[in-house]
């Protein structure tokens, strides 16, 4: 019964392993990302950022080049672990990628067991950096999203917020942070959880309109949820002063696809759109992205780029020092002090980036204008202002 299997796997394995002779100056980096399954969209966007990072690194860095080996984790934890192990067997010295805290968790533990660095931006759960891993790094956290949203609200002087959030892990975590963070500041918070399969948001918005009567609505969900919520709100026109959300909202894609829906909506953002690039690096990044994928970078691509770039630089430094096999990559990652496209990045002992704060962008006339914090703002916030 099980006799057939090892033959098949041994054969396939020898085919795979036999085919990769290594080239001296080329460093192999493993990318473990969801390219199919329910995280395919976000995984695909992060993957683009990783590819751009490799392209840019290889162009300017004469001494070392990186080769990205990509394995689809199919949005499944077990397959993510398998992907990390396969990539390691194929010679990857470190890993970039990962989306969803429940997938990053086991995958990064597998990387830890192999003693190899795993860097990500796709999992914001605070538990991830409480596990005491030595080789785990991430450049963002749910704190940063919640902080940015609360920062903008408090600058606006908002006294009551209705939080509409999806019952998914990351969305629920950010929603709870808002609740915990806004309450003590004297802001009245009402919570409205919704099932991820919800597509008619009118009953929820109606409750908010008639019962909560808040000054602001905060949406914590994903693109399809935002479109549904905003359409319902546009029909019901609750008497609020602003409506804002987190990831995937203040993006060029949303501005291009749903211009009439997005006007005056704010969301966490790293770049304005069209991007007003202030640094040469950011400009080169956007140009390369445009050339490779024929579109403007979105925030997932930007995060994928930054995490990979920092990893490549650390690996290159470790290679020079000859410490790649002795935990040198993790040590070099901890030395990172970099001003990146998403702001300052450094890593603490747990691998978190304590500098991470998101900015807030607002859709204005088909553009995304950075409106918070003041020192990185590219325009004035419209307040009170809603899409209807």
């Amino acid at each position: 019964m099980s006799r057939k299997l090892p033959n098949v796997s041994v054969l396939a394995l020898s085919l795979m392993l036999g085919a990769v002779p290594s080239i001296a100056s080329e460093i192999k980096i493993g990318a473990e990302i969801p390219l199919s399954g329910n995280l395919a969209r976000v995984g695909g966007a992060m993957n683009e950022g990783i590819q751009v990072a490799a392209e840019m690194f290889n162009k300017k860095n004469g001494k070392h080049t990186v080769k990205i080996m990509t394995v689809d984790d199919e949005s499944s934890p077990a397959k993510a672990v398998g992907a990390v192990e396969k990539l390691a067997a194929d010679g990857a010295v470190a890993f970039t990628g990962g989306y969803g805290s429940n997938i990053i968790g086991p995958a990064s533990e597998a990387a830890e067991k192999l003693g190899k660095v795993y860097v990500t931006s796709g999992g914001v759960a605070s538990e991830l950096t409480k596990r005491g891993l030595k080789t785990f790094f991430r450049i963002n956290s749910s704190d940063g999203y919640a902080r940015a949203l609360m920062g903008m609200f408090s600058e606006m002087g908002i006294k009551s917020v209705a939080v509409v959030y999806s019952t998914k892990e990351a969305t629920e975590e950010v929603a709870k942070m808002l609740q915990a963070g806004l309450g003590p500041r004297g802001v009245k918070v009402t919570m409205h959880a919704f099932d991820p399969a919800t597509n008619d948001f009118k009953p929820i918005i109606h409750k908010i309109k008639l019962q909560d009567r808040p000054e602001a609505i905060a949406m914590i969900g994903y693109e399809n949820d935002y479109v549904g919520i905003l359409r319902a709100a546009k029909v019901l026109k609750p008497d609020i002063k602003t409506i804002a959300g987190v990831w995937s909202l203040a993006t060029s894609k949303m501005a291009a696809e749903f211009p009439d829906l997005m006007e005056n909506v704010s969301g966490t953002s790293t770049l304005s759109y069209p991007a007003e690039f202030t640094t040469p690096e950011a400009r080169e990044f956007a140009e390369t992205y445009q050339k490779m994928f024929n579109k403007a970078p979105d925030y997932l691509g930007i995060f994928g780029y930054v995490q990979s770039k920092l990893l490549f630089e650390a690996v290159a430094r470790a290679t020079d020092a000859g410490t790649v096999d002795k935990g040198g990559v993790a040590a070099e990652m901890r030395k990172t002090q970099s001003d990146t496209v998403i702001g300052k990045v450094r890593f603490d002992e747990a691998g978190d980036n304590p500098e991470f704060t998101h900015r807030m962008g607002q859709h204005q006339n088909g553009k995304v204008v950075l409106v918070w914090p003041a020192d990185s703002a590219t325009g004035k916030v419209r307040y009170p202002a809603v899409p209807w």
Partner: protein, 291 residues
């Protein structure tokens, strides 16, 4: 509170009419062939994506994309029928597994062709508000497609009850051999029911693309919703599909209003199980033995 409940009922009825559009094709094939087409949701999704492509590339209004979407979806439905017709024994269960496999193929094909991005119609008119009696709120698209849903349910009902083809279809469903003796070609009638089911899936797909947001992974969810409604309706009851769908829509939206949206799917599933276990012939079906 009264205002909330009224709006909730209104939203629920509109959702119901839209659910009916999704469920009718599944119920039709189930009623006539005893085949649960688990790829039905994927057919709906396919229609939605064709409509998207037509709007994106050709600038067509979603409704104007109907002929194109119809051609693709009905052709696919025919292919599904052909494969199902190859099953020789134990058709009820084997077709379940076969159409499930076809659903997996279609979902992944959609993912490969259109990527995992979300899409929705951009024509603003569809999303403008309609406010009957000054206290009820809806999007134009919801009213349009609720109307289309009710008309199609009526048309299918008329077709099955009054037309010769419809009666032939029901004859085949209740007794294939006897129908053959009466000069009805069972194969032809089955092809017909699949074709009509494809048509209904196309319209449902356009409705979803216009009023909601589409993504490749949603096909399975649509199939499950459609099956729930088919069970609520009871075997072979076309008006039951509309009533069952409205009931589901209302139960879901009342759950949101009275409790929380996090519980709305739970409410739908519990309603489904209660009807399934306690009312073997559904809410509106003719008495049929199921257990």
């Amino acid at each position: 509170m009264l205002e909330l409940i009224l709006q909730s009922l209104f939203s629920g009825v509109l959702s119901g009419a839209y659910y009916a559009l999704i469920a009718l094709g599944l119920a039709l094939v189930f009623g006539t062939m005893r085949v649960i087409n688990l790829a039905h949701g994927e057919l709906v999704l396919l229609g939605a994506y064709i409509s998207y492509t037509a709007e994106e590339k050709l600038g067509l209004d979603p409704l104007a994309s109907l002929p194109l979407a119809l051609a693709v979806v009905v052709a696919t439905a025919m292919a599904v029928y052909y494969l199902v017709s190859l099953i020789k024994k134990d058709r009820e269960l084997n077709s379940l597994i076969l159409t499930f496999g076809i659903g997996v193929i279609l979902t992944n094909a959609v993912l490969m062709i259109w990527s995992a991005d979300i899409h929705s119609a951009t024509t603003a008119w569809y999303h403008d508000a309609v406010i009957p009696f000054d206290i009820l709120f809806a999007m134009q698209a919801e009213l349009v497609f609720a109307g289309i849903g009710i008309v199609l349910v009526g048309a299918v009902w008329w077709w099955l009850e009054k037309s010769w083809y419809g009666r032939a279809l029901r004859a085949v469903a209740s007794n294939r051999d006897a129908a053959k003796l009466m000069g009805v070609n069972p194969q032809l009638t089955e092809v017909l029911s699949f074709a009509v089911s494809g048509l209904l899936a196309t319209v449902a797909g356009i409705a979803i693309y216009t009023a909601k947001v589409i993504q490749p992974a949603m096909g399975h969810h649509l199939t499950v919703k459609a099956f729930i409604i088919t069970v609520l309706a009871g075997m072979g009851s076309v008006p039951g599909v509309l009533l069952g769908a409205v009931l589901l829509g209302v139960v879901e939206s009342l759950t949101v209003t009275m409790a929380s949206s996090a519980l709305q799917e739970l409410a739908g599933m519990v309603l489904f199980l209660v009807v399934l276990l306690l009312m073997p012939s559904g809410l509106f079906g003719r008495a049929k033995r199921r257990g």
